[in-house]
Subunit: 291 residues, 4 copies
Amino acid sequence: MVSDLKIMKNTATLLINCPDRKGLVAAIADFLYRHNANIVHADQHQDAENNLFLMRVEWDLNGFGLTPDTFATAFAPIAERFEMQWQLKLSQQRPRVAIMVSHYDHCLVDLLYRHQSGELACDIPLIISNHKDTQRLADFYGIPFHHIEVNKDNKADAEARQFALFDEYNIDLIVLARYMQILSPEFVKRYPQRIINIHHSFLPAFIGARPYHRAFERGVKLIGATSHYVTEVLDEGPIIEQDIMRVSHRDQIDDLIQKGRDLEKVVLSRAVRWHIENRILLYANKTVIFD
Amino acid sequence: MVSDLKIMKNTATLLINCPDRKGLVAAIADFLYRHNANIVHADQHQDAENNLFLMRVEWDLNGFGLTPDTFATAFAPIAERFEMQWQLKLSQQRPRVAIMVSHYDHCLVDLLYRHQSGELACDIPLIISNHKDTQRLADFYGIPFHHIEVNKDNKADAEARQFALFDEYNIDLIVLARYMQILSPEFVKRYPQRIINIHHSFLPAFIGARPYHRAFERGVKLIGATSHYVTEVLDEGPIIEQDIMRVSHRDQIDDLIQKGRDLEKVVLSRAVRWHIENRILLYANKTVIFD
Amino acid sequence: MVSDLKIMKNTATLLINCPDRKGLVAAIADFLYRHNANIVHADQHQDAENNLFLMRVEWDLNGFGLTPDTFATAFAPIAERFEMQWQLKLSQQRPRVAIMVSHYDHCLVDLLYRHQSGELACDIPLIISNHKDTQRLADFYGIPFHHIEVNKDNKADAEARQFALFDEYNIDLIVLARYMQILSPEFVKRYPQRIINIHHSFLPAFIGARPYHRAFERGVKLIGATSHYVTEVLDEGPIIEQDIMRVSHRDQIDDLIQKGRDLEKVVLSRAVRWHIENRILLYANKTVIFD
Amino acid sequence: MVSDLKIMKNTATLLINCPDRKGLVAAIADFLYRHNANIVHADQHQDAENNLFLMRVEWDLNGFGLTPDTFATAFAPIAERFEMQWQLKLSQQRPRVAIMVSHYDHCLVDLLYRHQSGELACDIPLIISNHKDTQRLADFYGIPFHHIEVNKDNKADAEARQFALFDEYNIDLIVLARYMQILSPEFVKRYPQRIINIHHSFLPAFIGARPYHRAFERGVKLIGATSHYVTEVLDEGPIIEQDIMRVSHRDQIDDLIQKGRDLEKVVLSRAVRWHIENRILLYANKTVIFD
């Protein structure tokens, strides 16, 4: 449905994070110009309070004078001079995404359809679930599905099997699409800034379990959903995206749950998309989203 | 700006709260019909979980066969039979509203303009502030202004003077338009369901002080505002209205504060309006808003 | 995903449309009470300008003293006295919905998933498309799929085949889920108030073809979608629901199309849901939505 | 209410519009670096379809090596090489804004309060109205008010008096805050991209007169407002900002008008703010808003 051009584009994206100093933009722009880069998108952010400079620049690789291999050496002097943390991402190296899911399948259904329609420029080679419900859906989309039961006694074993699958499939990003198990600290530590979760409330309201029930009891007039990177403290990782929907006294808990599904789908898929398009930079437990 | 018809309308509004039983609507509708009421608006809500029936019905008083004085006696048999709590409100008895304000005057400015333009069908005979800043604005609108300083040592005295003013001006509703003092339990107890506050966050997120600063630190992608009735537990009274606005990494704290002002104005004014139009029913620390 | 209770409920819904007169509500409520109805939801609307009364009342059939067959006779005196147009709908007679679709399948995918998850209380026994793309999806959900090619020369024939299928499957509602063929006047006349379309703009802006392209050219800051009943004049039928999404100069036409898909799905599914839950009343080319 | 820092800042903003070419950003960044600019904000946009490059860069003037007078000469070689159209704006040269208003004063009230509270970094030395209603408000804020009656016979004369006032007060921007007179082509030509209007609909829906009445008749579910630059064709100038609000069958025309006021205020004030902060670039009858 989406034009093929978008999917086939051949660009490099450079993400930079460093102390803010004069001459930064000039040095980067001059470097790219000297190597004949055709910039298609650039955005930057200065955080005055933390004296921080964050930048995302994307250029067409046609005619560019460096290869991914020679880039690092050529860029090193600038990177060192300005004390940069940097990453180079190539649009043609599509990130490999694993989806973890439990009973609720609306986010999974949504992500798979968006992927198929060309909206998500990634590969999805793996679905893991602690239930068998979504096997048939995975089959429909031709994606390997692994059922790994999780209970109080086998958690470490189950996670070990999950890690093995992530390794086998060379997974870059893990998406928790309403996966209802709490990950161990080891799991979280193993994939820093590489696990995205959807929480069904407007965080930091209703941290923890059963947020719709608690929203109903509190009598809020809006319900929300929040996608965030998973860190060691539950529901306190950097927020990527949030959205809300209006509710009224007419809405019972079932209605909140149903309305919330539409929120969860959209809020999770935006986070996944921005991550795989290398639009997210992290600092101070917050995200910068370069749109 | 608003048509005079709206302001001059002559209606009665009956608010009912009782256990849900068959025949309720028939009994009420028959009663109104027998007394020749011309219903202009009716709305009801059944809460199945709590077996509760809530109703708001408004009718034109032209041709109605009862007076406000005779209504209670005539309605008593029905009210008793169905164990109703009920209130009768007359559109021509405009509620008398006092506004309390501190330094931040945006909500005050907004309420006074809405009142002048006919949007709020109430009288505003009193403004109380712990600062003198808004005196000139009160004068512009011709509203008596009382400066009552509040500090750690004189709180009880200050509140006593406030109570005296509320009595003197026959105040029905107290609106805290960014009034930055915490009311004593006595104050709150004295005006049950008659104090409306605006909190500058999406409650229950960021309960308490400096919500915009905490929202900034948490890196939320939306900021909110909440209007609620004041009860004894800070920021936990029944929520009347909430709304949100999108923010990004580009927004510093000053930007959140500024964007938030637009939210606070709208969210507080809706609550005040619904209260004075008798559209709010309370139960289980929640509100039903009959629109 | 949704509680079975919702799906299995056994209620009747009465929709009424008549001149506004005193005693209407009393007469209806008394009638229902005499026949032992347990009202679970009631809503009404008075249109003062057109002197019109519109009502939706839903009651539990457990213990109700009339059958669907005896209802009409029992209700006739009231209906005649107040010159009512009325319809009685039973929750257990699920409407039968046909979906028509062309290349773009996002609305179809969305409707089928919502149906499967219990959100749409209807049967979907038929999908018709002028392309074969969605056959596999129909198979996945086990729904009969009919490919009927449409071109300039065979339009009348194609529609005749469509009518035959609607008859064969006893279709109550036809949903145009991005069906890109214009229906003939005969088609529209045959199914009055029984065809719902999704238009990918905020009507009446960008009536007709290629609304996203025209929105892009005009430089709007919001894009929209509109679901409406189909009438003889293109894109001018009664509007059921609309929603919008923010766009910026960064969004190219492809981005508008992609963002718009999320709007179209939500806006169409709400319209379908409200229709099958008998929440929509029509008058003066407008809809009343009883929520 | 807003921190003084914001108001007192001393920056320069360069707005650039030219054909997209390699080396553009490097040339600009290098130029600024050589003259010791401390960039506080930079944003750019490439329009691939039109091969256009648009940029906004803002830097602190403390320590900058050029004066406003010497800037043009120093920048000329780059500007010529890349065929740039460019403007340099200084934060300390506050734009001078005239507001024109008729009966409806809500936008005027809103703009004056925002200005007073420090939200709008401009001077407002002039209010012109074809009615006397807002004189008292202008006096409250200490702003010269001129009543210039406009009728069919005196339009040219009235505009001549308006032009004389704009000249006398050195007006940079004219804001039509619900000014209900149509400007002559001469007026519009005299102030290209310097007149901002608020239209009370979601353009291009309901172009022309009485948009709320037409929205009501059409039965839309959302109403909107649009701020735009005024060009010779009525309501077809470049759109700066739009927003919408949900309405229902319960809303009569008066309700639309009232709800719309909240929209108009916000949508107009954003446009004015972005204009005076030099965030708007125009091309192809569209706006780029650098946020």
